[in-house]
Symmetry: C2
Subunit: 387 residues, 2 copies
């Protein structure tokens, strides 16, 4: 078993009516706040007004940067960092889903860097601090609210790249399940696929150890499988939204990694899809994951897939391990495409094989140490399985 | 569902060969270190020497306070706090099990308090800071390495009382499973009983919500049930020691509490046993828990006990819920008393009913809001069931 370091310093206010703590949390870091958000849905839901009220109550000065894109762009990072420099911003408040949070993390870092923010994403820039960041989460998916990572897209180079920097860890995050009531069925399903993928990328690892973490990963996956369909059918079901929200954070906040020899597969492949076609990350993962599983399933991996089928989907029929493993993959497909209603093929979302070779080449940079090492050729085959 | 705040700032170095980080972690807080430990087993195992070496390498000045008792005394807190004041200690390093860690937490607080440290335990003293604390864990049980609580015994008043103070949260903890290789079968079993009890106290709660946390609690319990017997039989089995160690921390570091309407039962009852008879806390919990379960099991609680039996012990027989619930309790008894070999009755450890009335009276202060509210009379009955 590998040794590891675990620490997660983010303070999470979970549940309803916690925003009354927002002012005091922000005030710890200064007076000048940059509020960042996406397409403006927070204005429709009333969350924007509530937050502005809290900021006003605490006598903080509020600046704004709205319009952050899904698959947020490096150009947005650059633009907002200029505001931070010019307005001498003390603290960032990101209100939205993973895109807004990720973008804001890099805004905080870029404020202390004079070059192109894309260098920070690539890990080429020397930055050792960022602005303190608080978040109010409105979409359950990426787990960005409780970790130090973020993913940024460069449309010029068609790159979508992630990086983690310790100072990008949010100081505090407000997780109110009712703030996700307005998330539609499609985005709820995409979020569920993203959470599942975060766990699956770690669960299928080269060496089995620390049984406790296997059990916890299965707990996270069972929670998503149980509650995503409920949240899709009953968008204001608190219990469902709360379970998904907390599972989303714990799927990728460090706990499940401990000691596991990881090798992610679907994320590197998906980042190409959303970089080239600007599709929802969760949808890309949903389409890829079952095909990747089919591609990986063989006599060397069957035990793990068998365990997945049994402990996540409760398959206990009297069949061979290989057959049970296949049923498990089918259950995942059915969950994503039938129960959650996501598109099941690339063709159905107008993606053809045009860029597969190019995309596979880029993706292969990230899959050399994957659970099953994937070459460009392997990745191209998996993309084709998704057509 | 209740709203809640979750934060756990402790940095955990998990695994072997992490002590090379000890010097740099200590140095963050100053130059003058008080090393605290228990009966000296760390000298026999060589851990003491390794730690002293690391402290020397970092040019820190080391003071010592050894001999901290199991069920640590308020007199030890007082004595060590005097050393801290006199020697202007900057940082505490607790090396041992829960008793050493708990005692050291209060030493840190008492350093900034001029009255009797027992006031701090009782929550009567106004202290708002303590010395920074690092820990090296040598016994898996109390979870003190990753939370802000501690329990202290006052032999004069025969009280054993716990308190939590945010500044008692360790800054960093070193969890090396090999440091628990020397823990004997009996103490390993007591530790397992303690971990299980920490989870059981939360698992049996008044309102069922946040399914994710139920699953995680079941994961923790299954891990203990699987690995305690292995650690008892093969004391140097790394995987077993590692699983127990990490489960011990997560059983009582805040995660499983979130939103759960708790009401602890066995801990308040046990604290009287170890206050009056100085027995191992884990042993007291082991003897009490199955009897408390039998006492609580009725038509209003049967669903939860049924779930416990099914999800922790894998009972899937075709019987009534009540029968399955009873089998689950029997499985726990068998695990504690047969598999782990702990004494199963108070009589077998020379405790009779002499102080039951007195103890029940004290314990009842902590059981008014328990899962099933327990009066003095209830507690006396449960003690008698343990004879």
């Amino acid at each position: 078993m590998n040794s590891f370091v675990y620490q997660n310093t983010t303070k999470v206010y979970f549940g309803q009516n916690q925003l009354n703590n927002l002012g005091s949390e922000l005030s710890k870091y200064g007076k000048r706040v940059l509020l960042t958000y996406g397409g403006g849905s927070i204005k429709k839901t009333g969350l924007y007004d509530k937050i502005k009220q809290e900021i006003d109550k605490s006598n903080l000065q509020c600046f704004e940067f709205g319009g952050i894109e899904p698959n947020p762009r490096t150009t947005s990072v650059e633009e907002a960092a200029e505001i931070c420099k010019k307005q001498k911003i003390d603290v960032l408040l990101a209100v939205g889903g993973g895109s807004v949070l990720d973008c804001t993390k890099f805004i905080g870092a870029a404020t202390f860097y004079d070059g192109n923010p894309w260098d920070i994403v690539l890990g080429k820039a020397k930055v050792d601090k960022g602005l303190p960041l608080l978040t109010v989460l409105t979409l359950t998916a990426t787990g960005s609210e409780m970790n130090s990572g973020g993913v940024i897209t460069n449309l010029e180079t068609k790159d979508k790249i992630g990086n983690r920097l310790p100072f990008m860890q949010p100081k505090a995050s407000f997780l109110d399940p009712t703030n996700t009531y307005s998330v539609d069925a499609y985005q709820t399903a995409c979020g569920a696929a993203d959470i599942l993928s975060h766990v699956i990328e770690v669960y299928f690892c080269k060496k089995q150890d620390l049984f406790l973490l296997d059990c916890i990963m299965e707990s996270l996956m069972r929670t998503v499988v149980k509650y995503a369909p409920i949240a899709i059918k009953e968008p204001t079901n608190y219990e469902a939204r709360a379970n998904l929200m907390w599972a989303g954070s714990w799927a990728i906040n460090g706990l499940i990694n401990g000691g596991k020899q990881q090798g992610w597969s679907c994320h590197p492949m998906e980042h190409q899809l959303s970089a080239y076609y600007d599709i929802s990350h969760g949808l890309g993962l949903a389409i890829l994951t079952p095909r990747w599983m089919e591609y990986c399933l063989d006599s060397t991996t069957v035990d793990r897939f068998n365990q997945f089928a049994t402990n996540v989907f409760g398959i206990t029929v009297d069949l061979s391990k290989m057959e049970i493993a296949r049923i498990g993959i089918q259950c995942l497909s059915d969950f994503l495409f039938k129960t959650c209603g996501l598109n099941s093929t690339l063709t159905s979302i107008d993606i053809d094989s045009k860029f597969f070779v190019e995309m596979a080449k880029k993706a292969a940079n990230g899959t050399k140490n994957s659970y099953k090492a994937l070459t460009e050729q392997d990745i191209e085959k998996i993309y084709k399985m998704c057509l």
